[in-house]
Subunit: 231 residues, 2 copies
């Protein structure tokens, strides 16, 4: 990270002892000293409006779009013009979980040999960051309009309210609730809402939810719209 | 190396014990198992007709041409159409020595941040090899004529005879002999001779050297050409 000029390292569920030792070592880099720890991925990326996940080919069956690194880097740089962005790596052993991936707008894949896809974590990070700084003109042209994406925290709030609504509505069944929750999260990433739009949708969802639980609201709107059979 | 499909690892002056242990480890990769050790860099690259060295910015004062990695990768791939090529890395601590560099046709430089140029060796290797396989069309177009470069062993032989000639001729002074030897080596790399041309020049150098040491040859040719004052 330091080699390529990246400075905001965020660790999720880090092994505390090792982290504190590394951080306080005499030769610890500024990146490490300023690194922050979070208990979960959503907390770590709460202020990011675009999240790319680095992943091997084993993630090919998810619905999150996958791009080769050199293409995905362009998307990440482009998104960075509209807000903070994150590039997420999984653990060396297991990579990103399906749950981690559901927080990503896109997966990027380093074009490794089919027979040996799994990479050393530090090397994978170096390759991805190199690709990001490789060509200054990878960045989008200034004239291009870039939509300012909503921060992940906003999208997560929307997701939470929306999912709650789906549960209430009977759409989300308890047996497959986890799977439905993931699907919704991915759907929201694909929508790539601006802050304004996310707030708008959130307002709608909240209101529907309120109406769902409050008979008076339902009755009032039935009257207002003269909806036959509304109860 | 294995991630990106490269298989011919050659080690110079490796720490023997560590190397044998790594090689015989249960999970040793095929690359490591097939790796070969050499006592010197010239021996390791004897069959290569193009040698690129990976180097930080500290090597900027050498006469060997320096290219940013993405440009140097194109040259390396282009040269690989005409013979074996090598990408040489120095030790993690000291990088390539001036002597190592004098064996290189080109230095490639990973565009790291000015304040933190020195990279972890494994990460530098990963980034360079990624760049080489990054785009299949980095390779030169089939129509482009590619000169078949002479193997390093041929160039080294030429260098050795030529330098011997320079010593004999009084051009190379003992005090600065090392420096002259390096300069000559770099000159030969810049010439980038084909095998045919290298053999041709070698023949010339050899003959001049013979003449230098044998009065009869000098006398004969003086007669033949009627060179006034030839002795």
């Amino acid at each position: 990270m330091s080699n390529f000029g990246f400075c905001d390292l965020r660790l999720v569920n880090a092994y505390d002892l090792a982290f504190r030792e590394a951080k306080s070592a005499v030769n610890a880099s500024a990146v490490l000293q300023q690194a922050n720890c979070f208990a979960s991925l959503p907390e770590a990326v709460h202020d990011c409006s675009w999240i790319s996940g680095a992943s091997g080919l084993e993630a090919r069956d998810v619905t999150t779009p996958v791009q080769r690194l050199e293409r995905g880097a362009i998307d990440l740089l482009s998104a960075s013009k509209g807000g903070r962005v994150a590039l997420v790596f999984g653990s060396e052993k297991h990579g990103l979980s399906r749950d981690d991936i559901s927080h990503c707008h896109q997966l990027v894949h380093i074009p490794t040999r089919v027979g040996h896809d799994s990479m050393n974590l530090g090397q994978a990070v170096a390759v991805c960051l190199y690709e990001l700084i490789r060509e200054p003109d990878h960045a989008p042209t200034p004239g291009k309009r870039v939509q300012r994406g909503a921060p992940a925290a906003t999208i997560d709030l929307l997701h939470s309210r929306w999912f709650s609504l789906l549960k209430r509505s009977g759409y989300a069944k308890r047996k497959v609730a986890d799977s439905t929750e993931l699907k919704l999260r991915q759907l929201l990433r694909r929508m790539n809402l601006s802050t304004r739009d996310a707030t708008l949708v959130l307002g709608m969802v909240r209101q529907v939810e309120l109406a769902m639980s409050d008979e008076r609201i339902r009755a009032k709107s039935a009257m207002e719209w003269s909806v036959p059979g509304a109860d």
